[in-house]
Symmetry: C2
Subunit: 247 residues, 2 copies
């Protein structure tokens, strides 16, 4: 039953997320340099990858699975501040410690580099530094979009926003058009959803039920979601898609 090395070859050329990761822009020789210092690590669902405040010995890329960044207050309130999907980068070159807890939400495989050698390599390799800047800017955009969700949206809109983000991401992996119903499995528990959305798990559950009752989503079991009409979901999210058709 143990999760083996997840049949990941050591070969960057075979890497399923190579073109989206921090190494996306690397030339063959740069890739070989990276390859020589990389190693894989597996984390089980629920396991902590990195504690807030710990000094990080490594940086790396999520190959498969989902990890989350969370902040916790002394009294136990927690807020998820990032969702790490395959190809996302973990760690901050130039920083000593992580500012957040990094936790494996599902089983996770990471492609790691010890921090020092990576930093050295990055200093010599503009392709890596440039790609990392690009990815960091994307993360910043995502964080700011999420600030709007947290600060101004209702519980129902928050749930719809989260579902639409997950749906869109799944769509970007399987190259179907956005047309037709979307189907996916929620990678998050109700509690994790609540931590992401700044809600309680009860409110999440209630709003999921409400969206189901109103036909915005179909639920099979607790986790399997079908979205019959993506436009409708985006309306519910307050994003007012619109992006496509004009009367």
């Amino acid at each position: 039953m143990s999760v083996m090395t997840h049949h990941i070859s050591g070969n960057c050329a075979d890497c399923p997320i190579r073109h989206r990761a921090v190494c996306a822009r690397c030339e063959q020789d740069e890739l070989e340099e990276l390859e020589s210092i990389k190693y894989y690590r597996n984390f089980e669902a629920g396991q902590t990858i990195l504690w807030s405040g710990d000094k990080m010995g490594f940086v790396g890329t999520v190959i498969s699975g989902i990890a989350s960044l969370t902040q916790t207050m002394e009294d136990g309130r927690t807020q998820m501040v990032g969702l790490l999907l395959p190809s996302d980068f973990v760690g901050r070159p130039g920083r000593d410690g992580s500012a957040y807890d990094v936790t494996a939400t599902t089983d996770v495989v990471m492609c790691c580099f010890r921090k020092k050698p990576f930093e050295t390599l990055m200093a010599q390799t503009p392709h890596i530094a440039h790609r990392l800047l690009e990815m960091t800017l994307d993360e910043l955009d995502a964080a700011r979009e999420w600030m709007l969700v947290l600060g101004r949206k209702t519980a129902r809109e928050k749930i719809a926003s989260l579902l639409s983000i997950i749906a869109r991401r799944d769509a970007s992996l399987s190259p179907n058009g956005p047309a037709g119903p979307m189907v996916f499995d929620l990678p998050l528990t109700r509690e994790a959803m609540a931590d992401y959305l700044g809600l309680t798990l009860e409110t999440v559950s209630r709003q999921m039920s409400a969206l189901k009752k109103d036909g915005v989503i179909l639920l099979e079991g607790k986790r399997h979601v079908t979205v019959p009409d993506m436009g409708r979901l985006m309306e519910e999210a307050g994003d007012d898609s619109d992006g496509g058709l004009m009367a």
Copy 2:
């Protein structure tokens, strides 16, 4: 009454925020290159610097004053997603459009570069690219810290968090120790505070009054704030400072 060029010389060597800006790491020759393509622009309080979705023709650094990044939903709800202070950078090299409205909260002076030449220069100048990555990582940290504020803090804690951020920033400019009472002027209206905190302006006003009544802050007029005990304010913010003394 018109705001003149704000007696800013064209000389980078005299620039008050040079060591914190995107050009902080530049050598003399790099600085001269930058100097040859830069120009200053003034914006009046309330003026829009950049509209969301517009293609940006320039990037730049805030020299003086305060600008804000805001997102707006179709029904008018708005959320401030960033506060730009002197030395902060505006614009995303490699991106065509701004994702947010950028507005001058006070009168603002910016040091601008046309986007294309700046991108070219950046590609040749690792010092700039590296510093920009560093600054972007800082912004990402700030955005994520703000997600905790927006998602999990009470109205009172939100106000205290904002005040403590502004107070800390002012402290970092004037090189006093953190000891003793802090005094500063709020650069934001109650409405802007509300937009930042995901509250209504009435709630902001009420909580300001409450903090005043409880002696956490002193108010002189609407904007002039004295914090007699910074530790107390941080407790109110839920940050539980602590960072310094151990029993």
